[in-house]
């Protein structure tokens, strides 16, 4: 299966582990990802706070670049997915705002006719690659491993797609496909604080901390998320009082693709586990896996 790949800025920087682990599992899943040439930032929640037409034009430029390829545009980042989806809707609806975006694109010699289909990786895995195929790729069943499914906000709100915005299930389905147990996690769509970890650390940390506490309360062995910013923020929140947590206190927070790769016997190196900001995640994750595998005798 061939598709266009829109990484989003995080996947080239703070969340390289998400991209690297995605590439490590995509061949197993039979998906070939072609990075969109010369893509730019989607604008995310930042540019729209400064200039709306600019934010839409930034997103639309990517849609225009993707359109001639005629392939679905898959992104692993919920915020990119939301920004691109919103721009697509504005342009398809028409009206004065869409006209301004059209004029801006034309200034750069581009045009867009609304033909690009944007998919978020998680939903694409469930609905396109399919749980059956993913299940076939699982070589180490993670039976006994308790996993907190953490969606974050923007992959379910305001557009939930085919999933339930109040009680989404896509992440649970993917966790279940590995044999692990998706624990019932009340805060699964709560906000990690987003950019506030940078702008208002006092608030951002409090929000991310609440989610970590929630995951600990339901005795999760690890947290899995499809959002690079959530992954980063939760890890940053583990740094407390000037130090990283000790082994027992540590709660690994993995990208969805890193987690799936573990069940597909992809090496920790290829899954970029050592890029986790919390030191020792690689060790504790492989330790938890060994324990799981030995207790279940697989």
């Amino acid at each position: 299966m061939k598709c266009l790949y829109y990484p989003g800025c995080s996947q080239k920087g703070t969340s390289r582990s998400y991209e690297e682990s995605l590439f490590a599992i995509s061949s197993k899943l039979g998906v070939s990802l072609h990075e969109l040439e010369d893509w730019n930032c989607c604008g995310t929640t930042s540019v729209v706070a400064v200039n709306k037409v600019l934010s839409l034009a930034l997103a639309a430029r990517n849609l225009a670049l993707a359109e001639p390829e005629g392939l679905p545009l898959v992104t692993p980042c919920p915020s990119c997915w939301l920004s691109l989806t919103r721009a697509n809707r504005v342009i398809k609806e028409g009206g004065p705002l869409a006209e301004k975006v059209r004029v801006a694109l034309a200034a750069g010699g581009l045009s867009y006719n609304g033909g690009t289909v944007i998919r978020h990786l998680m939903e694409f895995m469930v609905n396109e690659i399919g749980l059956e195929r993913i299940g076939q790729c699982v070589s180490t069943h993670l039976t006994g491993l308790r996993v907190a499914p953490y969606y974050g906000c923007q992959v379910v709100r305001p557009y939930a797609g085919e999933d339930d915005p109040y009680d989404p299930q896509n992440l649970e389905k993917l966790i279940d496909a590995t044999g692990a147990l998706p624990v019932s996690f009340e805060l699964k769509t709560a906000c990690c604080g987003g950019a506030m970890m940078a702008t208002r650390k006092d608030i951002g940390r409090q929000m991310s901390d609440k989610i970590l506490q929630g995951a600990r309360t339901v005795e999760a062995d690890l947290v899995v998320t499809p959002c690079p910013l959530c992954q980063l923020n939760l890890e940053l929140a583990e740094y407390k009082n000037g130090r990283w947590p000790w082994e027992e206190a540590e709660l690994p927070v993995l990208n969805l693709t890193q987690f799936l790769g573990l069940a597909m016997d992809v090496s920790p190196e290829k899954l970029a586990l050592s890029r986790s900001i919390v030191p020792g995640v690689k060790r504790s994750v492989t330790g938890a896996l060994l324990q799981t595998v030995s207790t279940t005798g697989e």
Partner: protein, 190 residues
């Protein structure tokens, strides 16, 4: 009926009229003041003005207080209120509109530098095409307090150690075309 209300509001309620005229603000007059937004908002407890109060203030014509409030800037764009609002007001999008207006009218709260983060982000994206996390954080921290960089030392070093902090900014292939789109779009702002 609706247009009559708007005409009456014109003198004292410039902000209300402006917001109501936006595609995302068309339902702002339907606010029931039910408080679902404030009950849903994950930061409401920490705000001087809750989202519900912001909507009441918009309707009361308190333009300077609304645009000078940090409430819109502390909206993390989680869209929980948007999904749950019984009046179907696109609250998160209205918060974005308030952010834009507070910058444009020079009314952003000067005791807070949160809006500067968003401005710096936008400047970097316009220049390089993609965000450069290190540049953004350095510029923002330098503006805030150069010494605050020191307190971030251990975390920053760790991020360099994991190879997650890109040093070299991205270079776009079609720079000229990109710059033209950015320039045009900036001129066409709503």
């Amino acid at each position: 009926m609706k247009s009559k209300t708007l005409v009456q509001a014109k003198e004292d309620h410039g902000l209300l009229e402006e917001i109501a005229a936006l595609p995302e603000g068309e339902r702002v007059l339907s606010c029931l003041q039910c408080g679902t937004c404030s009950a849903t908002c994950p930061v409401a407890a920490l705000l001087e003005h809750s989202p519900r109060r912001i909507f009441a203030m918009i309707r009361a014509g308190m333009k300077e207080q609304v645009l000078g409030s940090v409430t819109p800037w502390l909206c993390s764009s989680c869209y929980d209120c948007t999904v749950k609002c019984p009046a179907q007001i696109k609250i998160t999008e209205v918060m974005y509109a308030l952010k834009r207006r507070s910058i444009r009218e020079g009314l952003a709260n000067q005791n807070s530098d949160v809006h500067r983060f968003y401005q710096l982000f936008t400047e970097i994206v316009c220049k390089h095409g993609r965000i450069h996390e290190l540049l953004l954080l350095l510029k923002y921290m330098a503006l805030r307090h150069p010494l605050s960089m020191l307190s971030q030392g251990p975390v920053g070093l760790r991020m360099f150690g994991t190879g997650c902090m890109r040093v070299q900014p991205h270079r776009m292939k079609y720079r000229e075309s990109f710059a033209k789109i950015v320039d045009k779009a900036s001129l066409l702002e709503e």
